[in-house]
Symmetry: C2
Amino acid sequence: MFREKIKVLDCTIRDGGLINNHYFTDEFVRAVYKAVSEAGIDYIEMGYRSCRSFAPESDYGPWKYCDDEKISRIIDGIESTTKISIMVDAHRVKDQQFKPVDQSPVDMIRVATYVKDIDKAIAMLNIAHDLGYETTVNIMAISAEIEKDLVEALEQLAETPVQVVYVVDSFGYFYCEQIEHIVKLYRKLLPGKEIGIHCHNNQQLAFANTIEGIIHDANYVDGSLYGIGRGAGNCPLELVMGFLKNPKFRLEPILKVIEDYMLPMRKELEWGYMIPYVITGILNEHPRAAIAMRKTKDKDKYAEFYEQIRDVM
Amino acid sequence: MFREKIKVLDCTIRDGGLINNHYFTDEFVRAVYKAVSEAGIDYIEMGYRSCRSFAPESDYGPWKYCDDEKISRIIDGIESTTKISIMVDAHRVKDQQFKPVDQSPVDMIRVATYVKDIDKAIAMLNIAHDLGYETTVNIMAISAEIEKDLVEALEQLAETPVQVVYVVDSFGYFYCEQIEHIVKLYRKLLPGKEIGIHCHNNQQLAFANTIEGIIHDANYVDGSLYGIGRGAGNCPLELVMGFLKNPKFRLEPILKVIEDYMLPMRKELEWGYMIPYVITGILNEHPRAAIAMRKTKDKDKYAEFYEQIRDVM
């Protein structure tokens, strides 16, 4: 039933960090690392490697920077074969430093980029590759790109050493036929590279679109515990595991960490199915307007919000 | 973009009634009827037509019986072209009475059945058809049926006057490739009939599977407000509307009734994404064990529940 080439990446700490400015406690990050390790998950993403000159330390927790030393302290003493990834924004980089891979706890560097920043992304991918890291590029917000521009970016990436190119549905807009089209386009233009898929859950399609990606041969798959992530959140990791049926997976540690940590966290942080994110998803918009309105007293005025958003389009 | 043949049915009151023994207030039912009417939804299902000898009135609210007089009072004075359906369980019928359609506010009778009760269902469908009602048959729990038995039931249904045969994923088990297979099977064996689709949301696949059904020519589509329904609930109606893009639809009244009624209701009734329902979905089990455990103090002991359920299989 299962396809051995499929690699699952848990992005709980990284994508979840977008809702709390990356202030997760050491206890929580250790618990997640331990659980995904016991569960047999292939990768865990610890957060962003951001420059302190762009993102001042007064505003963010440690998972905005993912210092090697910090990661090493967190994972110390936990038995694991789970590899560690960090994410870097191609468009927010300044004197970014990486040690060679053999001096770092990090195994993989994932470069997040918009199509317009693809040259910056490629420069960064080359640096990471030359230092010995596994590399991926995650092209964000492609539902709002002109396909011709996307094709050009993919053609450029085909010439680089990047190993995995991710389809990212940042706005939670796509449904299955669109995912099929995009994944097939990536496969055609990126011979020899693996395709990844990272979906957002605005329309409750993150898991379904992840399956659709898998059907069309995307082999790198992102999920997060209980679907945590900005706005509507991500594809729930527990659903991906239930679907893949890889005999090396163990679901129990994942269920346990959800019951012990994610349920209490859900009372303090907001993510998941909410109508404002449905609306931005349906309209193929960035969720920022929904995020902003959820912080006001009118956070549940759905009909009003819909009229506002629709009218400015 | 839209396919005119597609008919959308709101099952808020009927499927939602399974979580509160059908005790919705008249105010709520009127508000839902008004909203779906203004939104241009094709059908609204008011509840079950159950026999009081099977289901004593001391245990249930009015939407367990859906008396014609009750429905007439609810809809009185509300402008609407939305048709009204009720559901009848084929296996729980005794001296069931229907008036001829022209003496009833009901337009459509939907017969819910298991494969083993298909003869009872057909008898009921013939009665309803002869009284002038539109008819559908909703074959439940087909993910747990032997396909040969299902095929035989479909062949029998092909010989009846029933207009619509529904694919029902009662356990929230199916993913897209299975839906495609089943919908194509129904179409092949039921020439001249319409196919319907009713999905449960255990694995957050209800909307995606509904889309999959639509792609393969299912033209009758069920949804409920904010996904209300037993356990993990149903396909959210608001998502179906956003997808279909039928110009006759208006989303605003739906968003308004969600904000005014469904959000407060959600604080009192439980439905939606919960790990115990994920587990029964993944394991292709009836949700009853999950429903039972959600009523105990151990309602959030997910890992323990998974081990229990898996071990009795």
